[in-house]
Amino acid sequence: MKIGVEHYLTVSIILFCLGLLGVIVRRNLLVIYLSLELMLNAANLALVAFSRFNNDLDGQVFVFFVITVAAAEVAVGLALIVALYRKRRTAHVEDLTLMKL
């Protein structure tokens, strides 16, 4: 069977759901960030696959931008963790309870 865009999309969708699962069930902020990266990477894979099968480079340019944005986002997120850790000595979601949810 020829490998088509559907195959890549299937991988991408499963990867996205794995990331979502991590965000939902894991309680360590750092692991949650890692899972968020999985979700972004899943979208990247879909974009590259579409780009290839649509014969159009726009998707690859999109991925280029997404990688940059993701790097900036990770930097910001880690800085937020460090800022919180200085005050609270924790990196767990369950400890974010200063304000009632």
């Binding site: 020829k2 490998i3 865009v5 559907e6 890549y8 299937t10 991988v11 969708i13 499963i14 990867l15 759901c17 794995l18 990331g19 979502l20 699962l21 991590g22 939902i24 069930v25 894991r26 309680r27 360590n28 750092l30 692991v31 960030y33 890692l34 990266e37 999985l38 990477n41 990247n44 894979l45 590259v48 696959a49 780009s51 290839r52 099968f53 014969n55 480079l57 726009d58 690859q60 340019v61 280029f64 931008f65 990688i67 940059t68 993701a70 790097a71 900036a72 986002e73 990770v74 930097a75 910001v76 880690l78 800085a79 937020l80 460090v82 800022a83 850790y85 924790t90 990196a91 369950e94």
Partner: protein
């Protein structure tokens, strides 16, 4: 008769998903460092998939920026914080089951819609994602987003320095 690229697709796809799973739910360890290392492997296998899709430049960027820069930053912060052992709590059973069920439902819906979709690719792909056409697009059609990205990096830089620097006095 299966061809080499097809076999490689299955290899890389399996590696991506298996490592992705180990990032999220590693039955042997809840240590963030292990998760981060498996994310590096996931990213590497994704780069393999990119190569199979003829996106050579992006595959290189993926390795350089993601596996190189971003993951090093991650590991650096994980080591810096050096979470004490008792902080590494167990994943809660009830939350895990609920999460698995809801995400499983979402996954089923997404795969269903993919199956039922009439969308497919008939034309044989001819696109090559090498550096020159990408660079050309970046500086013509996508010039403005490119400039905005520089502003975005400025924001990240200012913010990160501000947040992580200790105030004097």
């Amino acid at each position: 008769m299966a061809q080499l690229p097809d076999i490689l697709f299955y290899v890389f796809a399996f590696l991506t998903l298996a490592c992705g799973f180990l990032v999220v739910l590693n039955p042997f360890s809840t240590n963030p460092v292990t998760s981060a290392m498996f994310l590096v492997l996931t990213i590497g296998s994704l780069a393999g998939l990119f190569v199979l899709l003829h996106a050579f430049f992006l595959a290189a960027v993926q390795i350089l920026v993601y596996a190189g820069a971003v993951m090093v930053l991650f590991l650096f912060v994980i080591m810096l914080l050096d979470l004490p052992a008792e902080e590494r709590r167990k994943v809660k059973k009830a939350g895990l089951v609920l999460g698995l069920i809801s995400v499983g439902a979402i996954l089923t819906i997404m795969l269903q819609s993919l199956l039922q979709s009439s969308f497919s690719s008939e034309a044989a792909p001819t696109l090559e994602g090498s550096t020159i056409p990408l660079g050309r697009l970046l500086f013509t059609q996508y010039l403005l987003p490119f400039e905005i990205i520089s502003v975005l990096l400025l924001v990240a830089m200012v913010g990160v320095i501000l947040l992580s620097k200790k105030d004097l006095k």
